[in-house]
């Protein structure tokens, strides 16, 4: 009886290990997150820093990954702890949206200005080619005739 009970306990423990290690969602990775998080003391992303603060934050992230925290959860915890400046990219909300839309707006405005410039330039060239040939006055015409006669 005791042997049977022991066998059940051992089997349960053996199964409990992998079950505890598995997460209900795909596990994120330190590699994925360290390019998105800033080192607060050196102002580079974590993947480019080996400073004490960066190392400590990497350890914290790895610990939370091991505890099955999602990337969003980890980012949110770090923002709570260090403020929004810990994120390498601005959020997609509120005033921060400007940081995403302004460059796009700039590119569109630049393209529009360029297109307008090209359109104007091509119209100017067209109108240049449409101009009738300039008429010579009587004196110039006579001089030209004399020159041509000499060439003959």
């Amino acid at each position: 009886m005791i042997l049977r009970l022991a066998a059940v306990v051992v089997a349960a423990l053996a199964l409990a290990g992998p079950a505890a290690a598995a997460c209900v969602h795909p596990r994120t990775s330190l590699n994925y997150l360290e390019g998105q998080i800033m080192c607060p003391t050196c102002h580079t992303t974590l993947d480019q820093s080996d400073s004490a603060a960066a190392t400590r934050i990497k350890v914290y992230i790895q610990k939370r990954i091991d505890e099955c925290a999602t990337a969003d959860q980890i980012r949110a915890e770090l923002v709570t702890n260090f403020g929004a400046g810990i994120l390498a990219a601005p959020s997609h909300k509120g005033f921060d949206l400007l940081a995403w839309w302004l460059p796009l707006g700039g590119v569109i405005a630049g393209a529009a200005v360029l297109a307008f410039g090209v359109w104007r330039w091509s119209r100017t060239r067209e109108s240049d080619s449409d101009d009738p040939p300039t008429k010579l006055d009587a004196a110039d015409e006579q001089r030209l005739d004399e020159l041509l006669a000499r060439l003959d």
């Binding site: 003391t41 004490a52 190392t55 400590r56 914290y60 702890n81 260090f82 403020g83 200005v113």
Partner: protein, 177 residues
């Protein structure tokens, strides 16, 4: 067409002027460390050791030893015991020790305080903005503030363990100026 061209030029000029203005503002607003003898930058920060906040202005009338530290900082571990001992020693004379935890994971800060037996008040500078106003570039750094809220004595950069004489002078200056 002329109006369009003129508007474009005005917009371009305004953009350049704006960028120049931003550059000038950034250069002129660089944080320099506060001067000894000048007012200590004030702050109100959340406590690490227990719930609540600490307003530096509320400590006016008491000499303050302000120590910037972080749990990941090795020299900070080395000086924790000395600061704790000094806080007990000088508490009889009314000196307040205030730790400012810089760019730290809160749970690590709790562990640090518990491990090193730090009992004096500690606040959390989450974003590092207060440390910036004090010109702190790395931790540990220690400032001394007199009863009038002025920075006095010395500004200790690095661990106080190797600068005990400067530390003693700083506390004395905070007490007697």
């Amino acid at each position: 067409m002329r109006v369009l061209k003129l508007s474009g030029q005005v917009v371009a000029l305004a953009a350049v002027a704006g960028l120049l203005g931003l550059l000038v503002w950034r250069v002129t607003h660089r944080t320099a460390p506060p001067k000894i003898g000048g007012p200590a930058p004030t702050f109100k920060l959340e406590r690490v050791d227990k719930p609540g906040t600490v307003d530096l202005a509320s400590l006016r009338g008491k000499p303050v030893v302000l120590n910037f530290w972080a749990s990941w900082c090795v020299p900070c571990k080395g000086e924790a015991a000395m600061l704790e001992q000094a806080s007990h020693e000088y508490s009889k004379q009314g000196v307040v020790f205030l730790g400012v935890d810089w760019h730290d994971v809160t749970s690590d800060a709790h562990r640090f305080l518990s491990k090193h037996g730090v009992t004096y008040t500690t606040v959390l500078d989450r974003t590092g903005s207060i440390a910036d106003r004090y010109g702190v570039a790395a931790v540990p750094e220690t400032y001394f503030i007199d009863r009038q809220g002025r920075l006095v004595g010395v500004h200790i950069v690095g661990t106080v363990v190797n600068q005990t004489e400067a530390f003693r002078r700083g506390v004395e200056a905070a007490l007697h100026s």
